[in-house]
Protein backbone atom coordinates (compact mmCIF):
# COMPACT_ATOMS: atom_id res chain seq x y z
CA UNK A 1 0.00 0.00 0.00
CA UNK A 2 1.26 3.47 -0.74
CA UNK A 3 1.93 5.88 2.02
CA UNK A 4 0.69 9.39 1.54
CA UNK A 5 0.65 9.40 -2.22
CA UNK A 6 -1.25 11.67 -4.49
CA UNK A 7 -2.84 10.00 -7.42
CA UNK A 8 -3.95 11.89 -10.47
CA UNK A 9 -6.26 9.96 -12.76
CA UNK A 10 -6.53 10.86 -16.46
CA UNK A 11 -10.19 11.83 -16.13
CA UNK A 12 -9.36 14.21 -13.29
CA UNK A 13 -6.57 15.87 -15.22
CA UNK A 14 -9.00 16.28 -18.13
CA UNK A 15 -11.45 18.01 -15.81
CA UNK A 16 -8.74 20.31 -14.44
CA UNK A 17 -7.55 21.16 -17.92
CA UNK A 18 -11.09 21.97 -19.03
CA UNK A 19 -11.59 24.24 -16.03
CA UNK A 20 -8.40 26.23 -16.52
CA UNK A 21 -8.86 26.48 -20.28
CA UNK A 22 -12.27 27.97 -19.59
CA UNK A 23 -10.68 30.43 -17.14
CA UNK A 24 -8.11 31.33 -19.73
CA UNK A 25 -10.82 32.27 -22.20
CA UNK A 26 -12.78 34.20 -19.58
CA UNK A 27 -9.82 36.24 -18.38
CA UNK A 28 -7.61 36.35 -21.48
CA UNK A 29 -4.83 35.21 -19.17
CA UNK A 30 -1.37 34.53 -20.58
CA UNK A 31 -0.83 31.36 -18.63
CA UNK A 32 -2.60 29.52 -15.83
CA UNK A 33 -1.06 26.93 -13.52
CA UNK A 34 -2.41 24.59 -10.90
CA UNK A 35 0.32 23.74 -8.40
CA UNK A 36 -0.05 21.47 -5.40
CA UNK A 37 0.87 22.49 -1.87
CA UNK A 38 4.33 20.95 -2.16
CA UNK A 39 5.31 22.85 -5.29
CA UNK A 40 4.42 20.13 -7.73
CA UNK A 41 2.93 21.24 -11.02
CA UNK A 42 -0.42 19.54 -11.62
CA UNK A 43 -1.64 21.24 -14.77
CA UNK A 44 -0.96 24.26 -16.94
CA UNK A 45 -2.41 25.89 -19.99
CA UNK A 46 -0.40 26.02 -23.18
CA UNK A 47 1.85 29.04 -23.25
CA UNK A 48 4.97 30.56 -24.66
CA UNK A 49 7.43 27.64 -24.90
CA UNK A 50 10.16 29.78 -23.39
CA UNK A 51 8.31 29.72 -20.06
CA UNK A 52 9.19 26.53 -18.21
CA UNK A 53 6.01 25.57 -16.32
CA UNK A 54 7.85 23.30 -13.86
CA UNK A 55 10.17 26.09 -12.75
CA UNK A 56 7.30 28.55 -12.69
CA UNK A 57 5.30 26.14 -10.52
CA UNK A 58 8.16 25.65 -8.08
CA UNK A 59 8.82 29.37 -7.78
CA UNK A 60 5.19 30.36 -7.38
CA UNK A 61 4.61 27.67 -4.76
CA UNK A 62 7.72 28.83 -2.88
CA UNK A 63 6.55 32.39 -3.13
CA UNK A 64 3.09 31.52 -1.96
CA UNK A 65 4.47 29.46 0.92
CA UNK A 66 6.75 32.29 2.03
CA UNK A 67 3.88 34.76 1.88
CA UNK A 68 1.63 32.54 3.93
CA UNK A 69 4.35 32.23 6.55
CA UNK A 70 4.67 36.01 6.53
CA UNK A 71 0.94 36.25 7.09
CA UNK A 72 1.12 34.02 10.12
CA UNK A 73 4.07 36.01 11.45
CA UNK A 74 2.13 39.27 11.36
CA UNK A 75 -0.93 37.71 12.92
CA UNK A 76 -3.04 36.98 9.87
CA UNK A 77 -4.56 33.53 9.54
CA UNK A 78 -3.64 33.48 5.88
CA UNK A 79 -3.45 35.61 2.83
CA UNK A 80 -5.51 33.70 0.36
CA UNK A 81 -4.74 36.31 -2.20
CA UNK A 82 -1.32 37.31 -3.35
CA UNK A 83 -0.80 39.83 -6.06
CA UNK A 84 2.41 40.93 -7.65
CA UNK A 85 2.38 43.84 -9.98
CA UNK A 86 5.11 44.08 -12.53
CA UNK A 87 5.46 46.56 -15.32
CA UNK A 88 4.10 44.21 -17.98
CA UNK A 89 2.68 41.10 -16.39
CA UNK A 90 0.85 40.60 -13.14
CA UNK A 91 0.57 37.45 -11.10
CA UNK A 92 -2.50 36.52 -9.16
CA UNK A 93 -2.34 33.59 -6.77
CA UNK A 94 -5.18 32.07 -4.85
CA UNK A 95 -5.17 29.08 -2.52
CA UNK A 96 -7.27 26.09 -3.54
CA UNK A 97 -8.34 25.13 -0.03
CA UNK A 98 -5.30 23.56 1.55
CA UNK A 99 -4.53 21.45 -1.50
CA UNK A 100 -2.85 23.79 -3.91
CA UNK A 101 -2.60 27.14 -5.62
CA UNK A 102 -4.22 28.61 -8.70
CA UNK A 103 -1.74 30.88 -10.48
CA UNK A 104 -2.95 33.29 -13.15
CA UNK A 105 -0.50 35.40 -15.11
CA UNK A 106 -2.13 38.23 -17.00
CA UNK A 107 -1.24 41.53 -18.53
CA UNK A 108 -2.64 44.97 -17.95
CA UNK A 109 -5.47 44.62 -20.46
CA UNK A 110 -7.49 42.51 -18.02
CA UNK A 111 -8.89 44.26 -14.94
CA UNK A 112 -7.78 42.73 -11.68
CA UNK A 113 -11.35 42.57 -10.41
CA UNK A 114 -12.23 40.19 -13.21
CA UNK A 115 -9.25 37.95 -12.44
CA UNK A 116 -10.19 37.91 -8.78
CA UNK A 117 -13.80 37.02 -9.43
CA UNK A 118 -13.14 34.22 -11.91
CA UNK A 119 -10.22 32.85 -9.88
CA UNK A 120 -12.44 32.50 -6.85
CA UNK A 121 -15.04 30.68 -8.87
CA UNK A 122 -12.42 28.43 -10.41
CA UNK A 123 -10.81 27.43 -7.12
CA UNK A 124 -14.22 26.24 -5.91
CA UNK A 125 -14.49 24.01 -8.97
CA UNK A 126 -10.95 22.69 -8.56
CA UNK A 127 -11.12 21.98 -4.84
CA UNK A 128 -13.09 18.70 -4.91
CA UNK A 129 -10.84 17.30 -7.63
CA UNK A 130 -7.67 18.16 -5.72
CA UNK A 131 -9.14 16.87 -2.48
CA UNK A 132 -9.85 13.55 -4.13
CA UNK A 133 -6.18 13.36 -5.17
CA UNK A 134 -5.08 13.90 -1.61
CA UNK A 135 -7.24 11.38 0.13
CA UNK A 136 -4.39 9.01 0.75
CA UNK A 137 -2.72 11.69 2.80
CA UNK A 138 -4.99 11.26 5.79
CA UNK A 139 -3.55 7.89 6.64
CA UNK A 140 -0.06 9.05 7.35
CA UNK A 141 -0.55 11.35 10.33
CA UNK A 142 -0.42 8.52 12.81
CA UNK A 143 2.44 7.56 15.09
CA UNK A 144 4.55 10.65 14.74
CA UNK A 145 7.42 10.78 17.23
CA UNK A 146 6.72 12.55 20.53
CA UNK A 147 9.18 15.04 22.06
CA UNK A 148 10.33 12.25 24.29
CA UNK A 149 10.90 9.96 21.32
CA UNK A 150 13.06 12.59 19.68
CA UNK A 151 14.98 13.27 22.87
CA UNK A 152 15.70 9.58 23.15
CA UNK A 153 16.82 9.40 19.54
CA UNK A 154 19.21 12.30 19.90
CA UNK A 155 20.40 11.57 23.36
CA UNK A 156 23.64 13.52 23.21
Amino acid sequence: MFKGNKVLQPEDLDKINDIIEKLKVQTKALVILVVDDTGQLIANTESDPSIDPILLGTLTAGNFGATNELAKLIGEADFTLVLHEGNKENIHMLAIGECGILVVIFNNTTPIGLIRMYSQKTTKELLPILEKMQQEKEKKKTDLPSDEDLNNLFNW
Partner: protein, 195 residues
Protein backbone atom coordinates in the same frame (compact mmCIF):
# COMPACT_ATOMS: atom_id res chain seq x y z
CA UNK B 1 4.52 13.47 -1.38
CA UNK B 2 4.93 11.28 -4.38
CA UNK B 3 2.57 12.17 -7.14
CA UNK B 4 1.51 9.42 -9.44
CA UNK B 5 0.10 10.96 -12.55
CA UNK B 6 -1.71 8.36 -14.62
CA UNK B 7 -2.66 10.95 -17.17
CA UNK B 8 0.91 11.85 -18.03
CA UNK B 9 2.28 8.49 -16.96
CA UNK B 10 4.63 10.13 -14.51
CA UNK B 11 5.76 9.44 -11.01
CA UNK B 12 7.24 12.45 -9.28
CA UNK B 13 9.23 12.29 -6.04
CA UNK B 14 10.76 14.99 -3.87
CA UNK B 15 14.14 14.63 -2.19
CA UNK B 16 15.46 17.30 0.17
CA UNK B 17 19.14 17.87 0.95
CA UNK B 18 19.37 19.02 4.57
CA UNK B 19 22.24 19.99 6.86
CA UNK B 20 23.97 22.87 8.65
CA UNK B 21 25.07 26.05 6.90
CA UNK B 22 27.92 25.67 4.40
CA UNK B 23 27.97 21.87 4.67
CA UNK B 24 27.77 21.39 0.89
CA UNK B 25 24.10 20.88 -0.01
CA UNK B 26 24.15 23.25 -2.96
CA UNK B 27 27.55 21.86 -3.98
CA UNK B 28 25.94 18.43 -4.25
CA UNK B 29 23.19 19.71 -6.52
CA UNK B 30 25.58 21.71 -8.67
CA UNK B 31 27.82 18.72 -9.17
CA UNK B 32 24.84 16.58 -10.16
CA UNK B 33 23.66 19.28 -12.52
CA UNK B 34 27.07 19.69 -14.14
CA UNK B 35 27.78 16.00 -14.51
CA UNK B 36 24.55 14.17 -15.18
CA UNK B 37 23.75 13.49 -18.80
CA UNK B 38 21.69 16.18 -20.51
CA UNK B 39 18.58 14.14 -21.10
CA UNK B 40 18.15 13.50 -17.40
CA UNK B 41 18.13 17.06 -16.13
CA UNK B 42 16.01 20.17 -16.31
CA UNK B 43 16.96 23.70 -15.43
CA UNK B 44 18.36 24.34 -12.00
CA UNK B 45 17.30 27.23 -9.81
CA UNK B 46 19.54 28.59 -7.06
CA UNK B 47 17.99 31.23 -4.84
CA UNK B 48 21.13 32.57 -3.21
CA UNK B 49 22.57 35.74 -1.75
CA UNK B 50 25.43 37.70 -3.26
CA UNK B 51 27.83 35.60 -1.21
CA UNK B 52 26.26 32.54 -2.84
CA UNK B 53 24.58 31.29 0.28
CA UNK B 54 21.21 29.70 -0.23
CA UNK B 55 18.49 32.00 1.04
CA UNK B 56 15.41 29.95 0.26
CA UNK B 57 16.09 26.83 -1.77
CA UNK B 58 17.84 25.32 -4.75
CA UNK B 59 15.83 23.21 -7.12
CA UNK B 60 16.97 20.63 -9.64
CA UNK B 61 14.46 18.50 -11.54
CA UNK B 62 15.74 15.15 -12.80
CA UNK B 63 14.03 12.91 -15.28
CA UNK B 64 15.25 9.35 -15.26
CA UNK B 65 13.25 8.42 -18.30
CA UNK B 66 10.86 5.54 -18.64
CA UNK B 67 10.90 2.83 -16.09
CA UNK B 68 8.19 0.35 -16.92
CA UNK B 69 6.02 2.77 -18.83
CA UNK B 70 6.23 5.47 -16.22
CA UNK B 71 8.44 8.50 -16.45
CA UNK B 72 10.36 8.58 -13.18
CA UNK B 73 10.99 12.16 -12.12
CA UNK B 74 12.87 13.33 -9.07
CA UNK B 75 12.91 16.86 -7.80
CA UNK B 76 15.91 17.71 -5.67
CA UNK B 77 15.70 20.61 -3.23
CA UNK B 78 18.16 22.08 -0.77
CA UNK B 79 17.30 24.12 2.29
CA UNK B 80 19.16 27.15 3.66
CA UNK B 81 21.39 26.03 6.53
CA UNK B 82 21.60 29.01 8.85
CA UNK B 83 19.50 28.86 11.99
CA UNK B 84 17.26 31.82 11.20
CA UNK B 85 15.87 30.22 8.05
CA UNK B 86 13.91 27.67 10.03
CA UNK B 87 10.56 28.60 8.47
CA UNK B 88 12.00 28.19 5.00
CA UNK B 89 13.31 24.75 5.88
CA UNK B 90 9.91 23.74 7.17
CA UNK B 91 8.27 24.86 3.93
CA UNK B 92 10.69 22.99 1.73
CA UNK B 93 10.25 19.75 3.66
CA UNK B 94 6.55 19.68 2.86
CA UNK B 95 5.79 16.51 0.97
CA UNK B 96 9.37 15.21 1.01
CA UNK B 97 9.73 11.57 -0.03
CA UNK B 98 13.34 11.27 1.04
CA UNK B 99 16.06 13.23 2.79
CA UNK B 100 19.81 13.40 2.31
CA UNK B 101 21.46 14.76 5.44
CA UNK B 102 24.80 16.32 4.55
CA UNK B 103 27.09 16.54 7.57
CA UNK B 104 30.17 18.74 7.66
CA UNK B 105 33.03 16.52 8.83
CA UNK B 106 35.10 19.34 10.30
CA UNK B 107 35.67 19.08 14.03
CA UNK B 108 34.46 22.60 14.75
CA UNK B 109 31.19 21.93 12.91
CA UNK B 110 30.33 18.79 14.85
CA UNK B 111 27.83 20.43 17.19
CA UNK B 112 26.07 22.14 14.29
CA UNK B 113 25.53 18.79 12.61
CA UNK B 114 23.81 17.53 15.72
CA UNK B 115 21.65 20.63 15.97
CA UNK B 116 20.70 20.39 12.33
CA UNK B 117 19.74 16.72 12.56
CA UNK B 118 17.47 17.48 15.50
CA UNK B 119 16.03 20.44 13.62
CA UNK B 120 15.32 18.08 10.73
CA UNK B 121 13.45 15.68 13.02
CA UNK B 122 11.27 18.46 14.45
CA UNK B 123 10.56 20.08 11.08
CA UNK B 124 9.70 16.75 9.48
CA UNK B 125 7.24 16.11 12.27
CA UNK B 126 5.57 19.46 11.60
CA UNK B 127 4.93 18.23 8.08
CA UNK B 128 3.51 14.96 9.31
CA UNK B 129 6.68 13.02 8.50
CA UNK B 130 8.69 10.73 10.74
CA UNK B 131 12.48 10.84 10.82
CA UNK B 132 12.48 7.25 12.02
CA UNK B 133 10.78 6.07 8.84
CA UNK B 134 11.38 8.44 5.95
CA UNK B 135 13.99 7.28 3.39
CA UNK B 136 17.21 8.82 4.67
CA UNK B 137 20.85 8.82 3.61
CA UNK B 138 23.68 10.48 5.50
CA UNK B 139 26.64 11.99 3.74
CA UNK B 140 29.92 12.74 5.56
CA UNK B 141 31.14 15.62 3.49
CA UNK B 142 34.49 17.43 3.30
CA UNK B 143 36.57 14.34 4.05
CA UNK B 144 39.55 15.94 2.32
CA UNK B 145 39.94 18.69 4.91
CA UNK B 146 42.27 18.63 7.91
CA UNK B 147 40.79 18.49 11.42
CA UNK B 148 37.90 16.21 10.69
CA UNK B 149 35.87 14.00 12.97
CA UNK B 150 36.58 10.26 12.57
CA UNK B 151 33.92 8.33 10.64
CA UNK B 152 33.28 6.12 13.62
CA UNK B 153 32.32 9.11 15.77
CA UNK B 154 30.01 10.45 13.07
CA UNK B 155 28.38 7.06 12.70
CA UNK B 156 27.91 6.61 16.42
CA UNK B 157 26.52 10.10 16.95
CA UNK B 158 24.48 10.91 13.89
CA UNK B 159 23.54 7.60 12.33
CA UNK B 160 20.84 6.75 14.86
CA UNK B 161 18.96 4.60 12.33
CA UNK B 162 21.88 2.77 10.76
CA UNK B 163 20.94 4.10 7.35
CA UNK B 164 23.39 4.07 4.41
CA UNK B 165 26.20 6.62 4.77
CA UNK B 166 28.74 7.89 2.29
CA UNK B 167 32.05 9.64 2.66
CA UNK B 168 32.16 12.57 0.30
CA UNK B 169 34.09 15.50 -1.09
CA UNK B 170 31.14 17.13 -2.82
CA UNK B 171 33.23 19.88 -4.41
CA UNK B 172 35.14 17.19 -6.30
CA UNK B 173 32.09 15.02 -6.81
CA UNK B 174 33.33 12.22 -4.58
CA UNK B 175 30.36 10.40 -3.08
CA UNK B 176 27.77 12.66 -4.71
CA UNK B 177 26.27 10.20 -7.18
CA UNK B 178 26.55 7.30 -4.74
CA UNK B 179 24.43 9.32 -2.31
CA UNK B 180 21.89 10.28 -4.96
CA UNK B 181 21.57 6.77 -6.31
CA UNK B 182 20.99 5.35 -2.87
CA UNK B 183 18.29 7.84 -1.85
CA UNK B 184 16.54 7.34 -5.20
CA UNK B 185 16.51 3.59 -4.67
CA UNK B 186 15.31 3.95 -1.10
CA UNK B 187 12.45 6.20 -2.18
CA UNK B 188 11.43 3.70 -4.84
CA UNK B 189 11.54 0.85 -2.38
CA UNK B 190 9.42 2.83 0.08
CA UNK B 191 6.86 3.45 -2.63
CA UNK B 192 6.56 -0.27 -3.03
CA UNK B 193 5.32 -0.30 0.54
CA UNK B 194 8.18 -2.18 2.12
CA UNK B 195 10.12 0.72 3.49
Amino acid sequence: MTMINYAKKEIICKVVYYGPGLCGKTTNLKFIYDNIMGQYKGKMIALATESERTLFFDFLPLDFGKIKNFNAKFQLYTVPGQAYYTNSRKLILKGADGVVFVADSQTDRFEENKESLKDLAVNLREQGLDIRKIPLVLQWNKRDLPNIVPIQTLEETLNFRKVPTFEAVAAKGIGVFETLKTIVKMVFVSLGGQG
